[in-house]
């Protein structure tokens, strides 16, 4: 077709100042300190004497245009026409004076959104695409978050945790999300089932072979067709071969489970950043509400809430009480799977007599 195509303007990342609340723009880099008058509300004081009051509210991340406009309307009527989104897909309205806060909160709750998620609350679970859009997922994402946050709503609205809690989910072992204080991630437990009739046509076999972390895949002829074979003794069921080669079906209604990991803290506060560690696996992938996973998460959160000191993130708390105590206090089982065997695993062995009795 000879239609004249429009060539793109490669403007890249737009200038953010044009979209910033004037008070933010005016005091850019000139903030003095902040306070946390109540859950969901922050106030930041500028050296200039200006103040900016933030009201944070949860969204479902994937917004239909109605919801988007509803949020805009609140912004227009009560928040000077500006909206900031946090990394966890919460909406933050900012206003320049305290009077504007209560009416804003009323409007938000009126409209069915939830105010909270600041400071020592359980922040909105950050999540990924899941069955809604991805081509790899072992489970859903938005649905998992909805189910869990329904149960954790009070911990989002209040700030009764020892420190902030950042949770995430991930719908396959690639982990586009799935880090933080508590991570609920897909964990496959069986090697891929291979549709040998397809491999030859749709997969670039050498690059699929190269994708396997444990070199368990080798090219093979099956019923005279070029295909791939998996050494099931070696295979760690990670699913890395599936994206480049969909005929290597890793997802299984029964055997694609969830695993729960805790103690990730990516901030440099106090200790250096830490990765999360396995605490529970074999958790059923059970839509629409994943009750088993939620139950474990709540058990962990309640134990943390009851036992940790102020300012201890989950990793700090566990570091203080020790992992054996973590398993004892949460009642979660300790198994051979908790002993790492991946590269560098030796560093996770106890090479000391440091033991709590």
């Amino acid at each position: 077709m000879a239609v004249e195509m429009r060539s793109p303007i490669e403007s890249g990342c737009p200038d953010g100042f044009q979209y910033m609340h004037p008070t933010m723009r005016r005091n850019y880099g000139l903030w003095s300190h902040h306070d946390h008058p109540r859950p969901g509300v922050l106030v930041h004081y500028a050296h200039s004497g200006d103040e900016i009051w933030t009201v944070k509210c949860a969204t479902q991340r994937i917004l239909d245009v109605y919801t988007l406009r509803k949020l805009c309307q609140i912004g227009d009527d009560f928040a000077d026409g500006y909206i900031h989104f946090t990394i966890r897909s919460n909406v933050e309205y900012v206003v320049d004076s305290e009077e504007k806060v209560q009416p804003l909160i009323d409007a938000i709750e009126e409209a069915g959104f939830i105010v909270g998620g600041t400071a020592n609350s359980v922040a909105t679970l950050s999540h990924t695409q899941g069955w809604l859009h991805c081509d790899i997922p072992g489970t859903d994402a938005s649905g998992v978050v909805k189910s869990m946050m329904d149960e954790l709503i009070d911990e989002f609205k209040e700030c009764n945790m020892p420190n902030r809690v950042h949770m995430t989910t991930s719908c396959c072992q690639i982990n586009c999300g799935g880090q933080g204080d508590i991570a609920i991630n897909v964990q496959h437990t069986k090697p891929p089932r291979i549709d040998h009739t397809q491999v030859g046509n749709v997969c670039e076999r050498p690059s699929v072979v190269a994708r396997c972390p444990v070199a368990a895949i080798r090219p093979a002829m099956v019923d005279g067709k070029p295909s791939l074979e998996v050494d099931e003794k070696k295979c760690i069921c990670c699913g890395a071969c599936f994206p480049p080669c969909p005929p290597m079906q890793i997802n299984d209604a029964e055997h694609s489970k969830l695993a729960i990991w805790v103690g990730g803290n990516h901030s440099n506060a106090r200790g250096k950043p830490t990765f999360q560690r396995l605490v529970a696996a074999g958790v059923p992938n059970n839509p629409p509400r994943w009750p088993e996973a939620t139950a474990i998460v709540k058990k962990i959160l309640n134990t943390y809430k009851a036992d940790a000191k102020d300012w201890e993130r989950i990793n700090d708390w566990i570091e203080r009480i020790g992992w054996p105590q973590f398993f004892e206090k949460t009642g979660l089982p300790f198994t051979k799977y908790h002993i790492d065997n991946w590269r560098g695993a030796r560093n996770s062995l106890n090479a000391s007599t440091h033991i709590r009795f």
Partner: protein, 419 residues
């Protein structure tokens, strides 16, 4: 024409109960109330396929290749494997659009984007994806172009998808946070917009991500989730308002301050004096932020500000999660020259990786494979003790170049001194 009958969604309906905002209710609003039949149809069809996924515990999308005229990426194409049953959503591509650093919007602009999307897409949009893009979810190959043409005209451009430089992320930072010690807006745009070509035309071994956090609290998970992490810090003494310290101690009590502030200092460099003032051994402070976080009114970062740069963070595939490693302990970012320096560094790294990285090998995985020292030599960066937490433990190394290396070090030190 009349709408198709609505698919039954008993499982999804469950997700309309409970206090948390329900994405399903949102889908249904589109299905039931929207004036545009296409949108109603797409929503119904999407609900149908999603219910099918819930019932069978399987996903039914597959990928493909779609882009806009002049670009190679920016789109995540989705074709349904069960498109015959769920026809209206059988093409359901996602368009990744770069937001401003820090995710600020005017309501007008959000409405304008919403309007364009309503014209050309499903009416479903995500703020934001885990790499920071606005994700306009669900449209056809054809409409992608129309939608892009619209929004590109009023200032929006595509983000990254595929083996390319990805959309960056920055924290709210200087716009609202007293902790910030670097200009996230400037850093983010200088870096990203220097690589627009690499964003739009995937030609690298694999993806490459920039993330900027204004301070070591790292609200962007930059160290854990980006190839190139820029994190604000400072070199001089932190500022202590002793009056505020006393006020804080008066309010919280000495024991609280000792238990929650001084004894939590990872480098044990704070003392609460008998007169309720704080003494900080700034030379031993590792800038962990904890005490500033707890006493943010009394304690603030110093004035000699800049950034630390860490390289090679990423998640699991295929050698296991990697955190970034310190590459530049401290870099000033005040002048235009400073910004050129950081841009050149990023270019050096991406060029070296583009040449030496294997297919589908992230920068951090390459460093793990060739060793940090070879990487440093490749990009022309000198070794620095701040790159490590512990020196060599293993004696299994050939060190016959020791004297040359030692001389290099002393010469550098001499230069620094004379500089």
């Amino acid at each position: 024409m009349a709408d198709n009958k609505h698919f039954d969604t008993p499982m999804l309906d469950e997700l309309e109960n409970g206090p948390w905002p329900s994405f399903i209710s949102g889908f249904k609003r589109l299905r039931d109330d929207h004036e545009d039949a296409t949108i109603r149809g797409v929503a119904n069809s999407l609900l149908g396929q999603l219910e099918h996924s819930y019932e069978t515990r399987k996903g039914y999308w597959k990928g493909g290749t779609v882009s806009v005229y002049g670009y190679g990426g920016g789109i995540i194409p989705r074709f349904s494997e069960v498109g015959d049953q769920f026809v209206e959503s059988k093409e359901f591509h996602t368009i990744r659009v770069q937001p401003p650093a820090g995710n600020y919007y005017t309501t007008d602009m959000l409405r304008q984007l919403g309007d364009s999307w309503e014209k050309h897409g499903s009416g479903l949009v995500t703020f934001h994806g885990q790499t920071g893009n606005i994700m306009f979810i669900g449209t056809t190959t054809e409409n992608i172009q129309h939608f892009f043409d619209d929004i590109n005209d009023y200032g929006w451009d595509l983000g990254g998808a595929g083996p390319c430089v990805r959309t960056g992320m920055s924290c709210i930072g200087m716009a609202r946070c007293e902790m910030s010690t670097c200009n996230e807006q400037a850093i983010h745009r200088h870096l990203m917009n220097n690589f627009t070509d690499d964003v739009h035309r995937p030609a690298l071994p694999y993806k490459f991500k920039f993330k900027v956090s204004g301070c070591p609290n790292d609200c962007q998970n930059a160290i854990e989730r980006s190839d190139f992490a820029v994190i604000g810090t400072w070199r001089d003494d932190m500022k202590v308002d002793q009056e505020e310290v006393k006020a804080f101690v008066a309010k919280k009590g000495r024991q609280y301050v000792i238990d929650n502030v001084t004894t939590r200092c990872p480098s044990d460099c704070m003392t609460l004096n008998d007169d309720d003032t704080l003494t900080i051994d700034n030379h031993n402070c590792v800038r962990c932020m904890h005490c500033l976080n707890v006493m943010n009114k009394a304690l603030t970062p110093g004035d000699d500000r800049g950034v630390t740069i860490l390289i090679g963070g990423k998640r699991t595939l295929k050698i296991g999660d990697l955190m970034g490693t310190v590459l530049v302990p401290f870099m000033k970012l005040d002048t235009m020259e400073d910004y050129e320096t950081i841009i050149e560094l990023a270019e050096e790294i991406i060029d070296f990786w583009a040449e030496n990285g294997l297919e589908h090998e992230r920068c951090g995985e390459m460093i793990e494979r060739i060793g940090l020292v070879n990487f440093l030599e490749g990009i022309g960066v000198e070794v620095d003790p701040n790159m490590i937490s512990l020196p060599r433990q293993s004696s299994y190394v050939r060190m016959d170049g020791w004297n040359e290396e030692a001389i290099k070090w002393f010469e550098r030190k001499a230069e620094e001194a004379s500089a």
